[in-house]
Each structure stands twice: as C-alpha cells, then as structure tokens.
Amino acid sequence: MRKGSELPLRAGRLRTSTLLHVGALLAGVAVALSFPSMAPSPYEITVGIAILNYAVLSTSWNFVGGFTGYISLGHGAFAGLGAYGTGLLVTKAELPPFAALFVAAALVAALAVPVGYAALRVRGASFVIVSIALVLILLLVFQSWASFTGGSRGLVVPRPFPGMLRSEHHRTFYFLFAALLGVALLTWWIIDRSRFGMGLKAIREDEDKAQSLGTPIFAYKLVVFVVSATFTSLAGGLYALWFGDLDPVFQFSILSGAYMVLMALLGGVRHLYGPLLGALIVGYALEYSKVEYGDTPLHLVVAGLLLGVVVMFMPDGVIPAATALLARFRTSGETSIREVTAAELKERHGQGNGTDESEVRNSERSGSGG
C-alpha cells in the first residue's frame, strides 16, 4: 500500500527533476551558442557545424525510427534530394538561396508521400530493404543524369552570402544549423506529448493492437514519415548552401543513413536528446579519426565499433542506460524482494494478505525474479 508520506516526496522529486532538466537545457543552449566565440579557429567551428548537421539528421530520422520503430537506412536519400534540390533551384531556376531551401523541402515532402505510401506497407526487414533501394536508385539517377545534375563532376552551389569572410560564413551557418536543430527538437517534443504521438508510440509497440483500438495506423505512419523527410531535406539543403559542393556519391550514400541510425541508437531513440547525444559522440569520433588518420577507412571502423558497443551493452542507448543507473542508486536504500524475508513480509502485513505493490515493482525493475 502507498504510504501517506510518499506523495509529497514524489512531488518534491518531480519538482527537483524538472528544475534539473530546465537547468541542464539552459546550460546546454548557453554552451552551444557560445561555442563559436570560444572556438580557437574556424576549423573547430566547421567541426561544430558537422556535428550539428548530424544532430539535425539523426533527430529527423528519429521522427520515424523513434516514434514508430521503423528503421530506415535510406534517409540519406531525403538529405541528398534536399541538397541537390536546393542547389539546382539556385543554379538552374535562379531562386534566392533560402527560398530554394524551403521550396526544395516542400518538393521532398510531396515526393515523400508516394514513397511512404509504398514503403510503409511493409514492416521489419522488408521496410529496411525498400529504404535502401530508394537511396541506390537516386544515386544512379543523379550520377547518370549529368546534363542536369552535373553527374560525377558534382554540382557547385553559389554561397548565399558572397561578401562574407570564410570565418564569418562558418559562424553564420553554425547558428542556422543550431536554429534548425532547435525547431526539429521542439517539433519532436510537441509530437511526443500529443495524442498523435501517443498513437505513434502504440504503433511502435504493436501495430495490430493499435489498429484494434481505432488508431489510423497507416495515415499516422505516413504523416510522421513526411515530417521526417522534410526535416532531413532541410538539413541536406542547408548543408548544400554551407559546403557549396555536392557529389552524388556522398549525398546519396547508404552510409549517411546508417550514421543517422547509429547516432539515434547510441543516444536512445525514445529520448528527445538521444540523437543529439549520439551525434556529439559519433560526429566527434568521426572527425577525430579523419584528422588523426587522414583519408583512410578508419572512421568506418570507429563507427562499426561504436555500433557493436551500443548493441551489446546499451541496446536502449546511453540516456536510458544512464537513467536506469541513476534510478538504481536512487532506490538503493529501498526494499526489494531479495532483501525482505517471507517472515518479515508476513509480520509487516499482519496476516500476509498480499504483496506490497511497490516491492513487486522494485523487484521487477531490478530484474530479480524472487
């Protein structure tokens, strides 16, 4: 039974937890915004931009992966389409750069509807294969259609701020990527707390059960797939305006989709900041290995090792693992079935007419079978 003093205690813990959460958020935002001023050289800012780009991409991927459990390895296709769409709209249609960015995102969103309509009819491994097929088809199209896309020669995208010094260019794009990440995180947070999000999470757990309760599963999956594709496209388009040089081999790469999955899994797909944390770890590790070991495939080995570590030791990601560890420390002073004898329980409950629910809960959480 619940003790009378437990409720105020829990309310107090809730307030402390909220305060800690808000404090950590404000500290994180302050560090992120002051990073360009503290960076010793423009190179560090470009590393920051690369990590922010990874964070936007993996957060975008997490709209589908985190909410519905559908693992797409082909999300690089939407980033590539956003990048090439923006570049082509600037160079061929002569649209202003940031208008091109949003028009390209709208076009990708429109394209994601038929793609999602076809791909989301299958589940599990079949969906993964369909998503890979998409990125491979687009790679072939953008490589072969050289007269329009530049083919293997690539596509040069004019800089949106031509008069700006290079360091100032990086600084500006750092803040643009940070703003896009903020919008993506806010959107994820809103969906997570909405009725729509509750339906998506039910789909993630069991589509058939969710359908039996009247959740419009296909419509929901399609909507969140389009939202995910749109944010991925915006990240790709912003990258095109920042980097200014596009190559289909890198833009339509299965590897970029795999990185998105790895980052989200590493941080924790069910947590708002999971993909961001994953991007920080993977992004830094990739940049470090590229700088230290040059143009070798070592960064792929690093990514593979990280994936292995996640799957073996933290299948739910760093954030859930750390949260569980903290919870164990926090509840270490409380009782569990292992620590209470049958005689003590009988004495505590008089006639032994039931098991204390909180004790059952503790024992189940700690994995003790009794």
């Binding site: 339906g199 999470k201 009247g214 809960r361």
Partner: protein, 224 residues
C-alpha cells in the same frame, strides 16, 4: 473457416464461445470487430449492417475487442494504455468521465495509473485491458481468452471483473479455453466445432450436459 454460423449477443448478457482449438472462436471475434472482413455473411450491430467495416467504425458502433494474450502496451503507462482505449473519442469531458468510470470499476487501474503497464502482474494487465476496452462505452466487449497464462487466483479476479462489466450494462462475447469456468460466468453458451455452432443454449444447461462435458468441457462436471 466459419460456415453458416450465427451468434447473437443480447444487451447486458455474457455469451460464451467454447470449443476445441481451431474451431473458429477467435475468428468470430476478429470478424465482429472488423479486424477480418468476411467473404460472405453479415455483421449487425443493433440492426445496422456494418459488414466489412474496419476497427475504427466498429468501435464507433460500440464494439470493443480485447485481443488474445497480454495485449497491454508494455512500454507505456497504465494511463496511456487506458487513454488509448478512448482514442476514437474527441470530447475531453467524456474522456474524463470514462476515465473516472473505469478507475472506479477497476481499482488497480487507479492505483497503478503512472506505472509502466509491463511492470504489472498478468491479472493486473488484464484489468488494464478491460478498462481500456470500456473507455468507448461499448455496447459489447469481445474478450479473447482473458484467462490465458493466469494463475487460478488471478483467473478468479478476471472472471469477477467480467461479471462486473456485464452488471454495469455491457454485453460480453467471451472466448475461453477454460470452458467450464467461462460457462459458469456466462448467461448463454455456444459450442463451436469446425467453424459451425455445434450446440447453443443457456450456459447452465450446457454445463449440466454430460455428453458435452465429455466432448468439450474436459470431463464430467464435478459432483457437489
């Protein structure tokens, strides 16, 4: 496959389908809740023909289905599980009223409101499923093997709750392997075999029939 089968569920009654494995009991429920579309035949709710409609429409018509096994969303809280039951409802006031109703009917739901549903015992999870099915104020609840995997004590609690649901005005169409226990709680029984209704009638009469007892209920009734 179902053949020439008719099952009627009167308002405020428990109708129990029993029969051997493969008799078509769960299929009847899936057709009735819109999870399966029949090739022929009709599904009528209060005289309205709803044949071929999906679960959303059937829920709106007052038909709720509790699937076989433990069908709670284990990684979601009890609150989220219950609220998902009212997913087709839009009126916030009505949702609040229904939440209050099911929390009263199933006290464990209120007590474990913020717990993850996967941390509850099997019997408690089943009560969450019942509460979830009652969120839409259904006219009939379809229960597929509610005692599956439960110990005798938890099974007893589950059957008590089924009777309470009936007493609260909800009709129940019950599929159960624990045939004798189910018929004891039911008003009417139907014995299915190979997709057909083998025999139907008042549950007490079916229970008292020694031949049916031998064939379908796991032996003769115990002498009292």
């Amino acid at each position: 496959m179902l053949r020439g089968l008719t099952v009627q569920v009167p308002a405020g009654a428990i109708v129990c389908l029993v029969g051997p494995n493969g008799a078509g009991k769960s299929t009847v429920l899936k057709v009735a809740s819109g999870l399966l579309a029949p090739r022929s035949g009709r599904v009528l709710v209060d005289g309205a023909d709803l044949t071929g409609h999906g679960p959303q429409r059937m829920l709106a018509a007052g038909v709720a289905h509790v699937l076989q096994g433990h069908s709670v969303f284990r990684e979601m809280t009890v609150a989220e599980n219950v609220l998902l039951g009212g997913y087709t409802l839009r009126d916030k006031q009505l949702i609040a009223e229904r939440v209050e109703f099911v929390r009263d009917l199933f006290p464990v739901v209120g007590e474990r409101w913020t717990s993850l549903a996967g941390l509850l015992s099997g019997g408690q999870q089943k009560q969450v499923e019942f509460a979830r099915s009652l969120m839409v104020k259904p006219r009939v609840v379809l229960l597929d093997e509610p005692s599956m995997g439960l110990d005798p004590k938890a099974t007893g609690v589950v059957f008590e709750q089924i009777v309470r649901m009936r007493d609260a005005g909800t009709a129940v169409l019950l599929v159960e392997q624990n045939a004798r226990r189910a018929l004891e709680a039911a008003d009417t029984g139907c014995v299915l075999d190979l997709g057909r209704v083998h025999v139907s009638g008042p549950a007490r009469e079916l229970l008292a029939d020694p031949q049916l007892g031998e064939l379908y209920l796991g032996g003769r009734p115990a002498r009292r």
